[in-house]
Symmetry: C2
Subunit: 276 residues, 2 copies
């Protein structure tokens, strides 16, 4: 039975939103709704226009017999700005200051609504790049890495500091912790990454750069390519060290009075400046 | 400028899908689209019908001046069944068998599409209950717990085996590991749970029941209530032990020939049998 346009629009929106970066053939929708391809094309035009106007993302349509539609999530600069202003305000609340110059932020990285924003922000950054896997290291970086994994629709791979019998054969690397200068070790399952894949690093915090070095070594061990690395927060002083290009969403700095200040990281410059 | 119905339907679908379990006032939509409340009500009727027909979830509409709409994600029994059949087939592939009677499953718990299904399944189970937080313990259970957190729109709280200076004051409990009989310790930040909250435990694996005991002790320390506990996989023999009610999505059993078999867990009985 032919499905009405109103129902098609609602269901197609749900269908595409749940399958980011996947090409869905026109014929699939045509069968699903028992509707002509020309009607489906018109529906997609409405979706495309609405997704763009509302800042939901891009609906890419591929014409021809093998054609279809692909939803590519992104976030508009003004939405990202507004969200990050809110995050910075929340983090600068003095009740969050912990001894030793740390700031409590675990709740933000556990809030599903904020994780959706963070995931979309990271997905926007790598919109045009092939990403085959998101790599993070246990524990605190997992939620933000998973949020990125969801919007980029690429598998999440978790390196660990301990080894676990449920991972099978593993690959381990040693690295020097940037903050403590101790030698540490991280491990991932041999099955978790494909050779020659494009891997994106996502983690919660970059300080001394040790973690990024460890994760990069793992990527090298698998002959994979590093697409980039994005961190929720960048610690004070990390600027003085050389550990390659990375993106940070927020940055911590200590002012002259020795107080910890949270401000926006370099995400803006990296993402939006080149398009403005 | 008044927004057309077609655009309203697409945008409202996106808006609601991104805010599960949140009541969105009619007036909000009415302003957003510069449209009469009666038109918005008609839109919601279309969404409600489509969400139901396509198994996306429930759109609950609350009438009156303070009224609005709430999207409650669920999964249909047939969709859950089909998905779990696929998972069981994947897991029974002999290449996944690891020494010691373990099965490699980390890739499944890192696959964004599968995590969306798993999250919806868990959200379906607790559809009618107030859930204030999802509690898990590092590391492997985090992705499935986060998926549930996303669809229930409740914060994710991660207990850890180590302590971390970035968590501030913490609460720790000791528990006896079910498999090794060793005494272990798990810790969460004091800020991470509110007193008297309703807490749902989600983890990847239940074997000896030690972890569930540890997590339950943490819940007790905060005077919180345990809503339930759901595990991706249930190990062989765990049936013989008493650690309360829990739900498992898959179950491992060893047959007479000593081979490991994966089958569906008790999710089906727990969720669907009472409604059939």
């Amino acid at each position: 039975m032919k499905v009405k346009r109103s129902e098609r629009l609602v269901d197609m929106t749900d269908y595409l939103l749940n399958r980011p970066h996947c090409l869905i053939p026109l014929t699939f929708f045509s069968k699903r709704y028992d509707s002509a391809k020309s009607s489906i094309s018109e529906d997609l035009t409405i979706l495309k226009r609405t997704f763009q106007r509302r800042g939901i993302g891009l609906v890419e349509t591929v014409p021809g017999a093998a054609g279809g539609a692909k939803y590519i999530p992104y976030i508009l600069k003004e939405d990202a700005d507004q969200f990050m202003d809110e995050i910075v305000t929340i983090l600068n609340n003095s009740e969050r200051t912990l001894p030793g110059g740390y700031v409590y932020m675990s709740d933000i990285l556990g809030d599903p609504e904020k994780l959706r924003y963070l995931g979309r922000m990271i997905a926007t950054q790598y919109l045009n790049q092939r990403v085959d896997a998101i790599l993070t290291v246990a524990t605190r970086g997992i939620p933000i890495a998973q949020a990125a994994s969801s919007y980029l629709n690429a598998p999440l791979v978790i390196a660990r500091h301990d080894t676990n019998i449920t991972e099978g054969s593993t690959v381990s690397v040693n690295y020097v912790s940037g903050s403590s200068k101790k030698i540490k070790r991280m491990t991932i399952s041999k099955r978790s990454l494909q050779q020659d894949g494009n891997v994106l690093i996502v983690d919660d915090f970059i300080h001394g750069g040790g973690t990024i070095n460890g994760l990069t070594s793992l990527i090298t061990e698998f002959n994979c390519n590093l697409v980039g690395s994005t961190f929720f927060a960048e610690g004070a002083y990390s600027n003085n060290q050389d550990f390659g290009n990375y993106t940070s969403l927020v940055k911590m700095e200590t002012n002259a009075a020795g107080e910890m200040l949270i401000m926006k990281g370099n995400y803006d410059e990296q993402i939006f400046s080149r398009n403005d």
